[in-house]
Amino acid sequence: MNESPKVPRYSKALHRLAVVLTIAVFPLIWVGGLVTTYDAGMAVPDWPGTYGWNMFAYPATTWLFGPFDLLVEHSHRLLGALAGFLCIGLVIIAWRVEYRRWFQFWTVALLAAVIIQGGLGGARVVLDERTIAMIHGCTGPLFFAMATATAVMSSRWWIELGQESRRETESTPRPINSKLVVLATLLAIAAYMQLIVGAQLRHLTGAVAPKLFTAFVHSHLTLAGLVLLLAVIVAALSWLGRFVPASVYRPSGLLALLVLVQIALGLGTWVVNYAVPWEAINQQIAHYTILAKGFWESLIVTAHVATGSLIISLSVVIALRTWRFASVGTSQAQNKDAIHAAASQA
């Protein structure tokens, strides 16, 4: 194969950077979750500075050994800045080595997303608006999913699968079960909707009417059922179906497990926040008194938030891979048809 600029080329640097970004965003999400769990959003009253300092020059002693809320909030900002720098790096590399035009623009979109996300975080602080905090909390996982998608779409697997389809037109096309493609996509959408509803439950203010809260609780439970159902079906279809590659069935199985863990964490989150709605059962849960801002309480709640993001990203991985297989399968099939057509014409 000669290096025609039309043929996408795998770049190790680009892919590695995308993976590093994805890995870096996960702790960013965790610490962001901690900001909300500890209600530390206003532990630093200014932005983009930190107590009048350039945020990168803020004294490490106060940051690390000062108030806990300040530690959480300032760390979140630094991790956010790191994600921003990694995105800039991605754009630069993409525009130098990448041949896929759309991918170059995708990295620009990724950079725009991280800037908007940072801006929202700043607006939450400067305007002291909890509604913006809630939105910032919903868009964060979206950015995490975008970073994950970048890693998937820059991988050797993704790029070479496309090339194989051009080269090896003789090999049997293996179109992936189209139901799987649809369900995996639905799963990603449902998981994200679930996160949005979860954010409503989490970013409560006294202004929310009990009826509205009740509606959110019921939606969150219903969507939990839906996500579980979809996750189980996707896992079952990929494990039982023929021709489903390991790059799809492995993450599908993991995702189904993760959803189960997430449901357990969700129930735990409710109990450590609000106890059980049945008085008699509360009596039986031994001698548990909720400890406000307790270590385990905060860990469970924040883990529930972070796992929610992880589920979205993992379902995006699965959806993207099924799409990829589907499109390659179709193009192979088309190629084959073309060959047949050519042969019959001859």
Partner: protein
């Protein structure tokens, strides 16, 4: 270089720019109006129905008066007339300000907006116990506005002491959704206590003013009209006086108990303190005798604990009762709490769906007001205000009542109940 970029960004990222940015993203709520306390519509309706009063004109006046004397959730005021020596120890104005308003904290780890950070989701901004989560909680969170508290060392009808409410905040209420705030700094706890008193006094004043208007005012009369201050200063002064008298009375009740130093009651000489050995058995003969006497008292006519908590203490007494916060707007208006249609309009005004309150299963060993012998003693001699649990009749006030010694025997019996089964089992295996 990075410094100057940050400087430039800082200079241009004004409130307005960020507002525009947020609006551009399609997010509304940039300049949400400062919150206000919602009026106690349920109590207005209750008095209107109960007394046949028309409070249409008075209600907004009362809301205005409350705002003038008590401020708003962001800017609470503690009435000037209470900032005197006489009411010292109730509310510290600085701490009150710190507990109110938006949540934030600073470099010295001073936290502000404590009530909104820690309490509002359950107890609500007004402290009416109807926060967003309330419908899922059982028992419901406390409505602070009537100023009635369950777990206190003072008699029924009296306010709790600061130590009572502090214990509730620090320990939480086991077996309910009320959390423990023991990880908070003690100064934050004190600020929350001040805010609690503020909400209670404010809520009680509101109720008293509504009652005053219902009893004293003719339909259509103004209760409080600030515009009279120029036109008819005498009339205005009268209106103010009515309001300030109510405030002084409510705060006086609080002052009478709240600042009191209470000493935990201790068993007198000769009554053994409750204790189990490591295998959960009660070995001490004197203690066993005390428990046996306690059982008789428990089952007896005077204490009559068994009528609610059942002969075996599992809480299976035949009562189907409701708590004060429910009865106030149902049975006291002649409405059956179980009659959905009758109570529907009141639910719309902010009442929580009535729930039967059951006597505690004393074998569960869960004591919401604390599990120390002195706590149980307090529950028995003071009752649990707001719940059906009465105070036991005591000598010498009531010649047929219990003596202090008998109450301590009863305390020992109550504390032995969670261990009794275990003991019977191990006794059988011997």
């Amino acid at each position: 270089m990075a410094e100057s970029v940050v400087e430039i960004v800082k200079k241009h990222l004004t409130r307005e720019v960020l507002c525009a940015f947020v609006l551009f993203l399609g997010i509304s709520g940039c300049d949400s109006p400062p919150p206000k306390f919602a009026p106690n519509r349920l109590f207005i309706e209750r008095m209107a129905r109960g007394e046949g009063a028309d409070l249409e004109v008075a209600a907004p006046d009362i809301a205005q008066a409350l705002e003038d004397w008590f401020g708003t959730p962001d800017q609470p005021k503690w009435p000037q007339i209470l900032q005197t020596e006489e009411f010292a120890g109730l509310v510290d104005v600085d701490r009150l300000g710190r507990a109110a308003g938006q949540v934030r904290s600073d470099e010295n780890d001073v936290h502000y907006g404590l009530y909104r950070e820690h309490c509002v989701n359950c107890h609500s901004q007004e402290g009416n116990g109807r926060g967003p989560t309330s419908v899922f909680l059982n028992p419901y969170p406390r409505d602070f506005r009537p100023g009635i508290y369950k777990f206190k060392a003072t008699a029924i009808g009296r306010k709790p002491t600061r130590a009572d409410l502090r214990r509730t905040l620090v320990n939480g209420i086991v077996g309910t959704s009320m959390p423990s705030f023991q990880l908070l700094k003690s100064d934050d706890i004190e600020a929350l206590l001040d805010y609690l008193v503020y909400l209670s006094v404010r809520g009680e004043v509101e109720r008293a003013l509504i009652a005053e208007a219902a009893f004293e005012l003719d339909a259509g009369d103004r209760f409080y009209a600030p515009e009279l201050s120029d036109r008819d200063p005498d009339r205005f002064a009268e209106q103010r006086e009515v309001i300030e008298d109510v405030i002084l009375e409510v705060a006086g009740d609080w002052q009478d108990s709240f600042v009191e130093e209470t000493v935990a009651p201790e068993p007198p000489e000769g009554v053994p303190a409750f204790a189990v050995d490591s295998s959960g058995r009660i070995e001490d003969a004197a203690l066993r005798a005390s428990i046996d006497r306690g059982r008789e008292i428990y089952l007896g006519e005077v204490a009559n604990c068994a009528s609610c908590h059942g002969k075996t203490g599992v809480g299976d007494g035949p009562t189907k009762d409701y708590d004060f916060w429910t009865k106030e707007w149902t049975t006291s208006l002649g409405l059956d709490p179980a009659d959905r249609d009758a109570i529907e309009p009141l639910l719309d005004l902010g009442a929580l769906k009535p729930r039967v309150i059951s006597p505690r299963d004393l074998r569960a060993g869960i004591y919401r007001g604390g599990g120390q012998p002195s706590d149980i003693y307090s529950r028995i001699v003071n009752g649990i205000e707001g719940s059906p649990m009465p105070a036991v009749a005591m000598q010498p006030d009531n010649p047929r009542g219990l003596t202090e010694l008998e109450v301590w025997d009863l305390v020992n019996y109550v504390l032995s109940l969670p261990h009794e089964q275990l003991e019977l089992l191990s006794g059988a295996s011997e």
